[in-house]
């Protein structure tokens, strides 16, 4: 692949991502984030008035959970509608009439959803940290590791949602993506609990499902941040980066294969 074609690809992906972001802004998606952020600030101010002495850990815990929950929901909602909307509004035809491959379209849309949800995460994190700072609370240096892992998880979630949106209806996509993203910890714990008493066949099935399904709970350092633990080792970040990249690439490839065979 020549430097010229790489530059062309980058331009296509950037344009598609930018269009996806503009579309989200036009649809006032960010307003949801801003309203929620406003509520958080107001709540923080009120909490400050009531006094929070001794509730530091509780406030950190709740704040980080709110950041996690809202950023994941926004990512799923952004990503799940990118391709289906292009199809239902038939805007996909003029796009594909240009020299853009179907993979370019998938990747550009994924990039747009990822950037948009990252923006949401930054907004929520800024508001959360700001509100805690107003109350004289800080989260320590592990918070930056937490943010990095959340970005990685958003990439994985966006890729997964884009792939699912090509395999099922939008509502089913959102439901399944939410289950996989938010329920992954419960799933992990359930498998750990059920593994001991299971038969050999059952154990085999559990191992396969454990290793095949993405473990988004591994990208959540919120408990360690909230409870004031030390930063984690670099090898964990490296391995989680590779883990997220592997799943993201697989999901995007499956989505591209499915989209290539799809009659539109």
């Amino acid at each position: 692949m020549s430097a010229e074609s790489i530059r062309r690809k980058l331009m296509i992906w950037r344009s598609l991502a930018f269009a996806a972001i503009l579309e989200s802004v036009r649809r006032k998606d960010l307003y949801v984030a801003v309203i929620l952020a406003g509520l958080m600030i107001a709540a923080a101010a009120l909490m400050g008035k009531f006094g929070v002495q001794g509730l530091e850990m509780f406030l950190k815990d709740v704040t980080l959970n709110v950041i996690n929950l809202f950023s994941v929901l926004l990512a799923i909602l952004f990503a799940a509608r990118q391709i289906p909307e292009e199809l239902t509004r038939r805007t996909v035809y003029p796009l594909l009439a240009r020299p853009i491959s179907r993979f370019d379209l998938i990747f550009g849309k994924f990039l747009g959803a990822f950037l948009m949800s990252s923006l949401g995460l930054i907004l929520f994190a800024a508001i959360g940290v700001g509100a805690l700072a107003c109350l004289g609370l800080s989260l320590g240096s592990i918070f930056w590791q937490y943010l990095l892992l959340r970005f990685l998880s958003l990439a994985l979630i966006c890729a997964m949602s884009v792939m699912l949106s090509l395999l099922m209806t939008p509502s089913a996509t959102v439901t399944l993506a939410i289950l996989l993203a938010i329920g992954s910890q419960t799933f992990s714990q359930a498998i750990l609990l059920a593994y001991g008493p299971a038969s050999e066949t059952g154990k085999g099935l559990m191992r396969v499902s454990y290793y095949v399904l993405p473990h988004l709970d591994l990208f959540d350092l919120s408990k360690k941040v909230g409870y004031g633990w030390k930063p984690i080792d670099a090898w964990v970040l490296r391995d989680l980066f590779l883990y997220a990249m592997a799943y993201t690439i697989v999901f995007l490839l499956v989505a591209a294969l499915r989209f290539r065979r799809q009659t539109i």
Partner: protein
């Protein structure tokens, strides 16, 4: 943050309403059949009772997590109990928080017991995890507001009062607050064996006011003995036994050996294996017992 605020508002409202809702739902002792029937028929009271019980249970779980620095614990499965194949969880003998850990293990298994290989290693790094054998409990200051909130939301949450006062009393400066907290628990739960026992312990151990402690210990014993033993839950059964033990130790330290002997003998009738009462009688058993006269509260 918004959720936290909403929670605090609900707790505040819940606390006020909780005192007024009649009949109350959770952890009541000694309801008559008619009261019980009435309780079951009042749907709104039942719903509100369920809500505040759930809220106090949620806060209890949170406080439990805070005390363990976020390490998740769970009960043992039947298989783990049978095979004794699970990571142990126990409190350090010198830990001032009286938190029992029976048949518990960590949710995330240790490396030796984990079949997941590298993914297990990563999970142990990203979630709060440590060896919980002989562990201590975190700084009390962090959890005290939660105990305050959980007993506001559910004034019948006896375990909240019992652990809460112990945490407060870790700091001698807050002994008065701990006493007030426990007294509030008594006012809300006059039939509680555990709270009467804890009041007896507070005055015997922390304040060394031996005579002041005895009415509470007697009251705990009497409340337990007025009940059918099969209806006592594990905490009530423990409190009954401890009330006997502390009453014996209280009288021993107060120099009233005849009463201590009578109490120890009574204790062994109920709990023949009890080491404290057996030990006491071995050391101080020669002498006449006294007739018991339950003392009046000061």
């Amino acid at each position: 943050m918004a959720a936290a605020f909403l929670l605090v508002v609900l707790l505040g409202a819940g606390g006020v309403l909780a005192q007024r809702v009649q009949p109350a739902v959770s952890e009541l002792n000694g309801l008559t059949a008619a009261q019980q029937e009435r309780l079951e028929k009042v749907a709104s009271a039942s719903l509100f009772g369920q809500f505040r019980t759930s809220l106090s249970d949620y806060l209890w779980l949170k406080a439990d997590k805070y005390m363990h620095r976020g390490v998740d614990l769970r009960g043992l499965t039947d298989q783990e109990k049978r095979t004794n194949d699970a990571d142990g969880v126990s409190t350090h003998p010198d830990d001032p928080v009286k938190m029992k850990h029976t048949e518990e293990t960590t949710v995330v298994p240790s490396r030796e017991r984990d079949w997941r290989g590298h993914l297990g290693d990563i999970e142990r790094e990203v979630t709060p995890y440590m060896d919980m054998n002989n562990h201590g409990h975190g700084e009390a200051r962090e959890t005290l507001p939660l105990f305050r909130l959980m007993t506001w939301s559910n004034p019948h949450f006896i375990r909240g009062y019992v652990i809460g006062w112990n945490l407060m009393a870790q700091d001698p400066k807050h002994l008065g607050d701990a006493e007030a907290f426990l007294r509030e628990g008594e006012a809300n739960n006059p039939q509680s064996i555990e709270i009467q026992n804890e009041l007896g312990i507070l005055y015997t151990v922390r304040k060394k006011e031996y005579d002041r402690a005895m009415p509470y210990l007697y009251q705990a014993i009497q409340l337990a003995e007025a009940r059918d033993p099969s209806t006592l839950n594990e905490d009530e059964g423990e409190a009954w036994k401890h009330a006997y033990r502390w009453a014996v130790l209280n009288r021993r330290d107060a120099g009233d050996q005849p009463t201590a002997r009578t109490l120890a003998a009574q204790c062994l009738k109920r709990f023949p294996e009890d080491v404290v009462c057996t030990g006491y009688l071995k050391q101080y058993g020669h002498g006449a017992p006294a007739a018991l006269k339950p003392p009046l509260r000061q």
